[in-house]
Amino acid sequence: MSILIDKNTRVVVQGITGRDGGFHSTKMGEYGTKIVAGTSPGKGGERTPSGVPVYNTVADAVINEGANTSIIFVPAPFVRDAIMEAADAGVSLIVCITEGVPTLDVIEARRFAQTKGVHLIGPNCPGLISPGKSLVGIMPGNIFKEGSTAVISRSGTLTYEVVYNLTMSGIGQSTAIGVGGDPVVGLYYIELLKMFQDDPDTDSIVLIGEIGGDAEEQAAKYIKENITKPVVAFIAGQTAPADKRMGHAGAIISSGSGTAAEKRTAFINAGVPIANEPSEIVGYLGKGCGP
């Protein structure tokens, strides 16, 4: 089992005729993801080099190909509209890869998706993968391995680093999700922790946080109260200076809050072990960590 995506996931790629959209559609397809359609206004009726049918609208892709998940690669100025289009068309999950999307656009698009009952992941995220079943994102599929450890992360390559360590140590993953590095994104720790708690095939959870905001603190509280499966946390940015954006728009210590120290304390108080380096995570999982 897994959460959000599996063998039944049927993906429509918004912006499939763009460079990134085209490249990663192929990669996802090679991984085994069912890429059933792409959209590109005006190219409806065409097919991509790998034979994926292109539609003018997401609605057409949903109606004609039964797409139930969308992945978005359109440029930042068009993301708000693309998310709303997908949500309106009736997919159940939208994964937005694009980075640099204005925050107020994300706020509107996410709210719209919410009113339609549609899950949003991202923007500015690497997507998600249920190893062996489906990859909806830009992650390197080959570093993942089927298993029962969940990974939730605000970061891309740091996730790969962690997952690579896991896989090398024989620890497979149920689903690994990059929630995105922007201050406002879709699904976050608490919603995902809840899903993983309910997922019978997940038996431990790795949470990779970073500076900025207090989502980790909230997650820690939630874990203490609601999660019975073992959790290990890692927090990036302990040496980050205040008021500087560390790559991710969301990774910033502002007005003295959002520091790594606060987050570490919160997890420790919740009984969640903290790894000091990515490679330590494997050890904690092996030991049967958790509250």
């Binding site: 640099g100 204005p102 390197p140 680093e161 970073e210 905001g213 980050a240």
Partner: protein, 378 residues
């Protein structure tokens, strides 16, 4: 992106949010001229710098005479506040303040909304108020599709004020704040204090605005207000090359692909007893030109005595990354030791290719960091 108080005031005026009369002055003569022009019995002279705590630093003074205007203005101009040199002041009419309030709009990560934050404890540090007496802070979450209808503006205004005449002034101010916030893609709009004058007028006395960097492409008027510091210029320059760069001041220059991994690298350097010189995320691909540009950036920092390259090869495989690095370093000459750590897809092939080069090759992140720290501290 931050702007000066006087620039925020201009935006407030553009949107009809009442402010005290004021002029921005770059020298004492202009301050005096502004004082005379204003014809007010007193003015407040305020340092214009991109930081808080001006008052405590002596950057805000009340002046009632030409003599005082001259003295304070020349004191404040040139003053250093938290490392920033004051090169201009705002000379603003002093108003008769009856009471002070706090009001702001801010992007809230948790509710994924813009939130209106208000307190009757105006003029104070709001974080302090929030920590000490959270019940004195009112929060109104704004639905992006609904905005702030009249009833909500009134309801919010009643949280701050008890008199209908004041509420009737404040409610439209709240709506105008939101319109300004939205139309200009702000990430923060703070008025502290919002005041009621002894004459019963509601007015913004100190204003602060930050803007969403991601939205500047559609806000040319706001972007034109940007005045980067020397350090910010360097960061901006890096950004234009597709990097994300922050100077930290240590000796180990880092080049990493991915923000999270770059932060983790910095953290581990510190953990292992070293000092990271910078945060540098070079992003996805590893083409030689990018590596060359990144190395230039790192080597321009004369403090740097080791460079650590930490790359996770994902979609771009490690052997391709290795190829790129080797090609790049045919064009870079530096006596500084380079530690390279490559992990991920085709890791073995990549590492094999780097063998025999002058690079210090590490097998794991821990090993790479110990090597870099050792080289740096020797």
């Amino acid at each position: 992106m931050k702007i000066h108080e006087y620039q925020a005031k201009d935006l407030f005026n553009e949107y009809g949010i009442p402010t005290a009369k004021g002029f921005v002055c770059r020298d004492t003569a202009s301050s005096l001229a502004a004082f005379r022009e204003m014809g007010s019995s007193a003015v407040v002279i305020k340092a214009q710098v991109h930081t808080g705590g001006r008052g405590k630093a002596g950057g805000v003074k009340l002046a009632k005479t030409q003599q005082e205007v001259e003295t304070y203005s020349s004191q404040i101009l040139g003053m250093d506040i938290k490392g920033l040199t004051v090169d201009r002041v705002m000379v603003a009419e002093a108003v008769n303040i009856a009471s002070e309030y706090y009001i702001s709009l801010v992007v809230d990560r948790n509710t994924k909304s813009v939130v209106l934050i208000m307190s009757r404890e105006g003029g104070m540090d709001i974080e302090e108020v929030a920590a000490k007496s959270p019940e004195k802070i009112h929060r109104v979450v704004i639905d992006p599709f609904i905005g702030i209808p009249d009833f909500l503006a009134r309801k919010a205004a009643w949280m701050l004020f008890d008199i209908v005449e004041i509420v009737k002034q404040a409610a439209p101010i709240i709506q105008k704040m939101y319109r300004l916030f939205r139309e200009k893609d702000a990430s923060l709009l703070e008025i502290n204090p919002l005041i009621v004058t002894k004459e019963g007028r509601v007015m913004a006395i100190d204003g602060k605005m930050n803007f969403d960097d991601n939205a500047l492409y559609r806000q040319p008027a706001i972007e034109s207000l940007f005045e980067p510091s020397a350090e910010e210029k360097k960061e901006q320059d890096a950004k234009s090359k597709g990097f994300s760069f922050v100077h930290l001041g240590g000796k180990i220059g880092c080049m990493v692909n991915g923000a999270g991994l770059a932060m983790a690298t910095m953290d581990m350097i510190k953990l292992y007893g070293g000092e990271p010189a910078n945060f540098l995320d070079i992003g996805g691909s590893s083409n030689p030109d990018k590596v060359i540009e990144a190395m230039k950036l790192l080597l321009s920092d004369k403090e740097v005595n080791v460079v650590l390259i930490n790359i996770f090869g994902g979609i771009t495989r490690c052997d391709d990354v290795a190829k790129g690095l080797l090609k790049a370093f045919t064009q870079i000459e530096t006596p500084i030791p380079i530690v390279i750590r490559l992990t991920g897809t085709n890791e073995r092939e990549g590492r094999l290719m780097l063998e025999g080069s002058t690079f210090h090759n590490a097998g794991s992140m821990s090993e790479a960091i110990s090597m870099a720290v050792k080289l740096s501290n020797n």
